[in-house]
Assembly symmetry: C2
Homo-oligomer: 395 residues x 2
């Protein structure tokens, strides 16, 4: 049985690319940028007034002059004006171009205006004050945002500023999520006493939605011919297949057999971990098949531990490892990597992880009480309060 | 001039409610749940087999018997079967109902099967092993998810399990975002040398999108009559108005005057903070008007510091304060609360905040290099490496 690390390595060796598309910039939040965003002009593009007030020529202030005749107004959005008499001043508005022949701005708070004369009330005045000078932030041609970044509100502002109505982002894969298991009924149905409602496919849809992937869903009953036929069709229509269930040792766990018949190259089956051990992974024509065990927590944790990094690698996104501090002693004996559900408290800049008690991989309600999983290495059995561990967050 | 704390208190005193709507559960990710989710039956609803293998009556194992004749199969999704001869065994599949007259499951890994006889290879066997017993996780009628929680993938699974095809969530407010300023041109236009492209409205749209609010946008040039007319209309159509610009001391900053004329009750103007000081806030007929200063960072930080908590309070969501550890010494002299842009590194379970150098509130590109703002209290001027500070995250 291979380890979590080995399994992940195999999966990352099989990441794919799905190309690049151009979309309206305002729809790109959460997507991964696939082009550098370049400054089309200087930032700011002109010597920009950054306070409402008056603009003067600092030389006259230095000579001791405090009274300045107001020669005119430079409004934001107006063409650049020239102050004709250099010992005068101009009223200037935030966002305006600095008038020609002026070099310093004094805000209204530090000025008295009476009968067309502005009197500066401050005794100290720095040359160039309250001017956001052309190119101070960035020069034309500078890279403002590097590609492969997730686009957030901060990037949207910059993308708008440089006039990119369309922006290049990675295309998400077409994903089919399939549940199996004859015990499952639809959400709107009332299950008989031996049945339960489908839930894993919807959990997976939501986990993928977080990655901006819209997935389709399907259910196949535990019949070999039906599995065979439907999966063959899915391979034609989708880039990735995700399964939940039918990969364990049960009499009706036909999935590995069917995938083999369909020519999918099994790269591993079973990983030394809990929950989620019977995970099956294979590839056909560069298309990945993630067949997760059907217990709710198994499906959930495997999607986070394997599919998320595979997707990030596929679209060129670097995932940062997050760590947390264990909040209480914990022990786990079996020779398996254990993914322990935890609630993480933010305490004084530290992230402290407290184990959430659950009743095994079938206890889906326990997910509601946790924020993620910590990864307990298989080489150890006891973990002490204060230890630093890898955290796999889902909220 | 009021403090950040006073301003926030006033704003939270004016939170509103926008009601509750029922939507398809799979569309509810990121929304705030407005009903308790109750267990419609026990979790699990029956004594559920949790491993593929055989089910026996433990009494016979205890008597030393290791060979059990296979009487039949209990598949997942099949009605509950009865084992007629209590010294026999039944093959059982994960997810199946435990057969009547059995009480313990042995996984296939610990059994040899030959000629219809299953021989247990283990010497120790706990009564009730590999059975996820009825009601062990939750009892019928238990609250599985409490209302006012943000719905994530974990909640979606539980909501599906209890058959809630529709789920009650809070209705987001109808928001209009208005930019002002004659220097602004559209994103697709090429600005003249004294102009820049609009960006703040798009940043605000994206920040609100993160809260699952879809906002409309508009631009009004710096003309009083136009402002008056358009804002009067917006009050009819929207629950909240967000402005960017025209609230400072400029000659064309008509917004406070116009809002006054329209009967909006000004609750404050100017807050002892940087950036974002000229922030104006008022209320008309319970409708909030957030008029943010037009500098990009001012608009951005004020949306996070004021609109976000107002919205959370309005829909009944409890926001948790996040803290970080300052990564290097920093000083800020003015008697203002300072919102400092920082990049946060996750180091050994600690969140360390490193200041991001920017050129003031106009430097929107600096937002791309940061993850959020730390809030430096106005009472202090020097902040030492290692201090714990409030963190306002935007990515």
């Amino acid at each position: 049985m291979i380890t979590v690390q080995e399994a992940l390595k195999i999966i990352l060796n099989n990441s794919q690319t799905f190309g690049v598309e151009e979309i309206p910039f305002l729809e790109s939040v959460g997507r991964v940028l696939k082009e550098n965003i370049i400054a089309d002009r200087d930032f700011p593009p002109f010597n920009r007034v950054s306070m409402d007030g008056i603009a003067i020529n600092h030389r006259y202030f230095k000579q001791g002059i405090r009274d300045f005749t107001i020669e005119g107004i430079q409004a934001a959005g107006a063409e650049n004006k020239t102050m004709n008499n250099p010992s005068n001043c101009m009223e200037v508005m935030t966002g305006a171009v600095l008038p020609i022949n002026t070099d310093t701005v004094i805000r209204y708070e530090d000025v008295n205006i009476k009968n067309g004369i502005a009197t500066i009330t401050e005794d100290k005045l720095e040359l160039g004050k309250n001017i956001h000078s052309q190119g101070k932030d960035q020069r034309q041609g500078d890279v403002l945002i590097e590609k492969n970044k997730i686009i957030s509100a901060a990037e949207i502002g910059v993308i708008a500023s440089v006039g990119k109505t369309l922006v290049k982002v990675s295309v998400p894969p077409k994903v089919m999520i399939v549940s199996t298991g004859d015990e499952l009924v639809e959400v709107h149905e009332t299950p008989s006493s031996h049945q339960i409602r489908r839930s894993n496919v919807f959990t997976l849809v939501s986990l993928l939605q977080k990655l901006n992937i819209r997935a389709d869903i399907s259910h196949i009953t535990d019949k070999k011919e039906l599995l065979n036929e439907k999966i063959a069709y899915f391979f034609k229509e989708y880039d990735v297949l995700l399964f939940s269930g039918a990969v364990s040792k049960g009499k009706f766990d036909f999935l590995p057999e069917v995938l083999d018949e369909l020519g999918v190259n099994k790269l591993f089956h079973r990983v030394a971990q809990r929950p989620g051990k019977p995970f099956w992974y294979g590839v056909k024509d560069n298309k990945s098949v993630f067949a997760f065990p059907g217990n709710p927590i198994s499906t959930y944790v495997n999607c986070l531990v394997y599919f998320y990094p595979w997707f990030a690698d596929s679209i060129g996104l670097e995932l940062k490892k997050e760590t947390v501090i264990l909040g209480e002693d914990f022990s786990f004996k079996p020779d398996l990597t254990y993914f322990l559900q935890v609630k993480v408290e933010n305490i004084d800049g530290n992230k402290i992880a407290f184990p959430v008690k659950g009743n095994g991989s079938g206890d889906l309600v326990s997910l509601v009480r946790a924020d993620g999983f910590i990864q307990l290495p298989k080489e150890k059995t006891t973990f002490k309060k204060g230890e630093i561990l890898i955290f796999i967050r889902y909220r």
